[in-house]
């Protein structure tokens, strides 16, 4: 061990049974893939971690990689900008583990895409009796305005972020699908860049798959669905504006892809074609990566009071003159109630068994199921179907009797607005605590998939970590943090973005004899001495 007086941050780390720890076995020995990492963490020690943490906060504040939180605990109080909470201990996944996840995700996303297409056209899955139409029609995000429209290539879910959790038995389960405007990829990229800068020594013994090709993946996908020759397609990123909490990501992606970042005032539809207002007059936009919710995109078809939308955009979309990613109306597939049917979708559309399982979920519209759930409320998680970001979620085992009673009343009034799920024993990963010692904290995973001509998934994704001891809520808006996610190279070239950088000898430059100045001048200087 080191010569220093301090105790290594990771000494005496013990996983918390019955939860699976991803870096350590139950008895406290590091897992094989984690050994080198743990050793480096020992060497780094608490001082090193604290120092790196300080540098991280300074860098993030300076670069504006922040997010806003409400001041006080009750949600009131002035919003404050905080540096994005990146925890310095990465999560490590083996190449093999990742391959299984990838296959499962690709399968699931394909099925969800089929479902969206089906719902707005033939409704075969409904005719088959697998999904009740009333459930689809009552989804708040079911978009009647786009009924009958089929986008190029039949792709609706261009960007998908399906949230995964790892159960204590080691299996991966999908906890939630996100196919409307999933966000967080910019944090994945910035986290990796930051880690490389702050704690490069942790990477020493590892070959970690790169993630920085995401913008290129997205750009290719957008170009491939655009209604024009690929090389000529004008792609734009559409943002609601700087007031939006995810604005940083919108600007980041536009910059990385080298495309314009537009707001509603820059866009106009004439004759069912979408244009950008430029200094050279109107220029056509062929593909739009939009980061607005459906509700706001077109005051003629959705919310009439939306100032963030472009009148006539749905017309252009219907006419096929512009590609929109993600397509309008995809929210019908990531509705929490529809989630229960995804395994059926996989079987129905793909004829395959699901590779990734759902978490057991209960639809409360059935009175028997409702009664059963109310009885066991202290053992379940309940979520409102209309919210996202962890809002309104109640975790039975963590709630007191008063809260449980209140929930029983609320749910009974509108059972169709809630679902209940078994509590998943989320896995843990060592996380830097306040005193720089490492403690097990629960994590989930949001990989990012791009669906263009095929489905590409960036290795790893955003690992979100609950920073409070015992907490299962990982959302950043509710006090969560994130970790860099490493997928290790293991010889499988499957999703390599480009050839590896070869170790070659640089060429010799014989005329650089004196290291800086070339011949003549040097001689003159010598002569004048």
């Amino acid at each position: 061990m080191g010569t220093g007086v301090q105790t290594p941050a990771i000494d005496g780390y013990r996983p918390q049974a019955p939860f699976l720890d991803e870096l350590f076995e139950d008895d406290g020995t590091p897992r094989p893939t984690a050994r080198a990492l743990v050793e480096e963490l020992r060497r780094l020690g608490p001082e090193g971690l604290i120092e790196a943490g300080r540098r991280r906060d300074a860098i993030f504040m300076q670069q504006g990689i922040t997010f806003e939180t409400k001041g006080a605990d009750d949600g009131e109080g002035a919003t404050k900008e905080r540096p994005f909470p990146l925890d310095l201990v990465p999560r490590v996944l083996s190449g093999q583990e990742w391959r299984d996840i990838k296959r499962g995700l690709a399968q699931r996303i394909r099925a969800l895409n089929h479902f969206v297409d089906d719902v707005y056209h033939a409704r075969e899955i409904v005719r088959e009796g697998l999904v009740p139409w009333r459930l689809v029609a009552s989804c708040p995000h079911f978009a009647r305005a786009v009924h009958g429209i089929r986008p190029p290539g039949g792709v609706y879910t261009h960007v998908a972020g399906c949230d995964l959790v790892r159960h204590s038995d080691g299996t991966w389960k999908v906890i939630e699908d996100n196919v409307r405007i999933p966000s967080g990829i910019s944090y994945v990229l910035e986290n990796r860049a930051a880690m490389a800068r702050l704690v490069p020594e942790l990477f020493a013994s590892y070959r970690v798959r790169p993630v920085d090709h995401y913008p290129q993946l997205l750009l290719s996908a957008l170009r491939s669905v655009a209604p024009s020759a690929e090389s000529e397609a004008t792609v734009v990123v559409w943002t609601p504006g700087p007031a939006n909490p995810a604005y940083f990501e919108h600007a980041f992606l536009a910059r990385q892809m080298g495309v314009e970042l537009v707001e509603a005032s820059d866009l106009v539809v004439r004759d069912d074609v979408l244009y950008m207002r430029t200094t050279r007059g109107l220029e056509r936009a062929h593909a739009v990566y939009r980061r607005l919710d459906d509700d706001f995109v077109d005051p003629l078809e959705f919310r009439p009071d939306s100032l963030l939308g472009v009148p006539g955009l749905i017309r252009a979309y219907r006419a096929g003159s512009v590609a929109i990613a993600n397509a309008f109306g995809t929210g019908v597939a990531d509705d929490k109630a529809i989630y229960c049917f995804v395994p059926d979708m996989i079987r129905f559309y793909l004829g395959e068994e699901p590779i990734l399982e759902n978490v057991k979920t209960y639809l409360l519209s059935d009175p028997e199921v409702l009664a059963h759930v109310l009885d066991r409320l202290d053992q379940l998680v309940v979520k409102p179907t209309g919210e996202s970001g962890g809002k309104g979620v109640m975790i039975g085992p963590h709630a007191d009797e008063v809260e449980l009673q209140r929930m029983r009343r609320v749910i009974s009034t509108h059972p169709d607005r809630w679902i209940a799920q078994d509590v998943v024993r989320l896995s843990t990963v060592p996380t830097v605590g306040v005193d720089a010692s490492l403690q097990p904290r629960h994590v989930d995973l949001r990989p990012f998939a791009v669906f263009g001509e095929r489905i590409d998934i960036v290795p790893g994704g955003l690992t979100r970590v609950a920073l409070e001891d015992g907490s299962l809520i990982v959302n950043s808006s509710r006090g969560g943090g994130s970790k860099d996610t490493w997928v290790l190279e293991d010889g499988d070239d499957a999703d390599r973005a480009g050839p590896p950088i070869a170790d070659t000898q640089p060429p010799a430059l014989p005329d650089l004899r004196y290291g800086a100045w070339t011949g003549q001048q040097q001689q003159q200087q010598q002569q004048t001495r």
């Binding site: 139409w133 009333r134 029609a137 009552s138 009647r144 305005a145 009924h147 009958g148 106009v268 539809v269 004439r270 004759d271 069912d272 005051p299 003629l300 009148p311 006539g312 017309r315 219907r318 006419a319």
Partner: protein, 292 residues
């Protein structure tokens, strides 16, 4: 009956406007009791009109005027033939639970988005107790015009059922919204209908009337024997009767008004607009209206 319908809309703007986008739901539908024989649109300034069927099957006409203009004229003409509907079925309350009914009802049996728990609704609900869904429907057509005064100006296009209950007055749109809530509360699927009403009394010698677009409803009633297909039956609470299909010319239906507005539009420019709209219905002699 044979009708010629003319729907003339004129907008005048107090300053030039551009990018004037509009969607029209004005064409009479073709159904089992109605047929639209002719249909013409004229827009000024000239604009290319595109058509499609929306989610509810209503024909939508869309156009845009990008260049600067100070007035917009939309002139729509149609010829339509209507025939009387069959007798409404007298199914039972139990049949509302049958798979055939649930299937046919679809989303029209779903409660309102945020089912208003309003005082006054409960009383009305109780008064609609009857032996069959058809009877409830008939009672409804009496109850609503009895309790609420038809008064234009009491409400506006964005009014809610709550407004109607408070004002105790409203127009056809409000009467229908309230009726839909009450029917769905009893498990009867119902939908909002927009159309034209030939409002002349039978014995009146008129053959041409100026009317407004009208709102009524269609309720899904189970078949008399409980096994056959349920039937959509029109009812007009504003006019106190089950709609007699001949005088009611349907344009389309939806869950509520904003699913089938006759004219919807937006323009760019700070000008205020002045609207003049007139719908003229003319009764035609079957001989003269049957053209090639």
């Amino acid at each position: 009956m044979h009708f010629a319908i003319r729907f003339l809309t004129e907008y005048r703007y107090d300053a030039p406007v551009t990018d004037n986008l509009n969607a029209l739901r004005v064409r009479p539908a073709t159904t089992s009791t109605q047929r639209c024989d002719e249909f013409h649109t004229r827009i000024e300034p000239e604009a290319r009109v595109s058509r499609h069927l929306d989610y509810f099957g209503t024909e939508v006409l869309e156009f845009g005027v990008p260049t600067s203009h100070e007035q917009l004229t939309i002139d729509v003409r149609a010829r339509v033939v209507t025939s009387p509907p069959p007798e409404p079925p007298e199914g039972s309350w139990e049949s509302l639970l049958s798979p055939a009914y649930v299937d046919a009802a679809g989303e029209f049996a779903l409660p309102w988005q945020d089912q208003p728990l309003l005082t006054g609704l409960d009383d009305l609900h109780d008064e609609l107790e009857a032996d069959s869904p058809l009877e409830t429907l008939e009672l409804l057509c009496e109850l609503v015009p009895d309790r609420f005064e038809y008064r234009p100006g009491a409400t506006y296009v964005g009014s809610t059922v709550r407004d109607l209950l408070e004002m105790e007055a409203g127009v056809c749109q409000d009467f229908v919204h309230l009726s839909l809530v009450l029917l769905r509360r009893r498990g009867i699927a119902a939908r909002y209908v927009s159309g034209y009403l030939w409002a002349a009394p039978e014995d009146h010698g008129t053959d041409s009337l100026e009317v407004d677009t009208h709102a009524w409803l269609e309720a899904l009633l189970p078949s008399s024997d409980g096994h056959g297909e349920p039937v959509w039956v029109s009812a007009d609470p504003t006019n106190r009767r089950l709609a007699d299909g001949e005088t009611h010319v349907k344009i389309g239906h939806g869950r509520f008004y904003s699913d089938v507005p006759p004219v919807k539009g937006l323009y760019m420019g700070g000008a205020t607009s002045e609207l003049n709209a007139a719908v003229t219905m003319s009764r035609l002699d079957p001989q003269t209206s049957a053209r090639a």
